[in-house]
Point group: C2
Chain length 113, copies 2
Amino acid sequence: MKQVIVVNEELNLPRGKLAAQVAHASVASLVSSEAEQQQSWFNVGMPKIVLAGENLSQLQELYEKCQELKIPAYLVQDAGKTVVEAGTVTCLGIGPATPEDIDKITGTLKLLK
Amino acid sequence: MKQVIVVNEELNLPRGKLAAQVAHASVASLVSSEAEQQQSWFNVGMPKIVLAGENLSQLQELYEKCQELKIPAYLVQDAGKTVVEAGTVTCLGIGPATPEDIDKITGTLKLLK
């Protein structure tokens, strides 16, 4: 089991803001998953991988694919009190799910450096 | 209720690595908290704040204070497959807990930019 977070790199978020948004995606996607998926992921040390996404429309497409394949996912919209406008989609959390399932969605994306 | 993640800025982690470590701290500290704390935090939208810590010894001191005050916390040690050496302490997750309790621990730290 693993979790993947895809970041909207069009926004070029500063480090602290980025980290908070990725953490939000991780927790919110976790909460949207089933107890069995959660436990399996905890048992293997909760691996999570942060990937670079291009822009909003890519994140929305990936999110729709997750919904089609019934993979837990959560699209983070920032509350917009700082840095970015309210409603801005900053990142997408996917899983926990099997690597096979997640790689169908994000297999071509690169690690966020 | 809120959650705070203190980053070991001595390591100067790259953005993707930093984000993954902060997400790990967030989830692990959440899992170490009680069901009532978790639910109260979910109810207010899971606020989380990322702060800049100076170095390992500061993070360890903060962690010990959390333990004394019985505030849920989790010190993240990296598995060390990339970027940093195995066992390196990258960040500290604190809470969910009340802002009053958390501010006793991290009240003097600055936001991570």
